[in-house]
């Protein structure tokens, strides 16, 4: 009878148990869902309401532009860095490259305020 050198938990047993508990959707998900994954902090809400203050349209537009720029800067800072994401930049879902390729530039067809 071969000697069992591995005294630790049986990996297959652990995976089977996790799968039975519904914790693992697929091997790929299991690979990505490691214990090192950090929890997301709560979302940040920033609301600006000038209340009864009325601004000239040009000033309001300039302020809106500045706020938008500041929010974009904040989002740029909030993005995770390559070395901050467990298992690399992408959990590795299927290796699907979902980036559209070789599509022409679409001009003047923006949809705002949907959803």
């Amino acid at each position: 009878m071969p000697e069992n050198k591995d005294k630790g938990p049986d990996r297959r047993t652990l995976i089977a148990a996790a799968a039975a508990a519904g914790a693992v959707a697929s091997p790929l998900v299991a690979q990505a869902a490691g214990p090192a994954m950090a929890r997301k902090p709560p979302p940040t809400k920033i609301q600006v309401d000038l209340g009864g203050i009325s601004l000239p349209p040009a000033d309001a537009e300039a302020l809106q532009s500045q706020i938008r720029r500041a929010v974009l800067d904040a989002i740029a800072r909030a993005g995770v860095k390559a070395n901050e994401v467990p298992h690399g930049l992408n959990p590795g879902w299927l290796g699907i490259v979902v980036r559209p390729v070789q599509i022409p530039q679409v001009q003047g067809a923006k949809t705002h305020g949907v959803g």
Binding site: L72, V80, E84, V85, V98, V106, T111, H112, V114, G115
Partner: protein, 133 residues
Amino acid sequence: MDESDSRPALCPSAKAEPGAAVIGVLGPDGRVGYLRDWLEIDQQFIDDVSREGRPEQRYRFANNCVEHHCAQWDGCKCTIIERVSEALTPIEEHSLQPCAIRTACRWFRQKGPDACRLCPMVITDTRDEADAA
């Protein structure tokens, strides 16, 4: 799903280019968190986030679905969400995350709420830097 919506469909996995909107940010848990509002990006934003690699690896962008101009279009639908839904189990969430584009989203129109439960697991660009070169 809601194919009767006459508004142009939006691609929830578009390229980062001026005029597109940032709709999600990859979180430390490896899943995408979503913005509530449509926030159009500009070249400055793209330049800023590109310092850490390709933006599509860490953010999700929306833009018009270009249908037959896109390699992922099979003639009548987007194949990406079809492939993802075949391979992954939707996240079990009772309520959907807020989303700036839901009712116009191509994936939502094809798959309904299940698309929203799969979407956080999708990163637009999974290629290595070497592959992209």
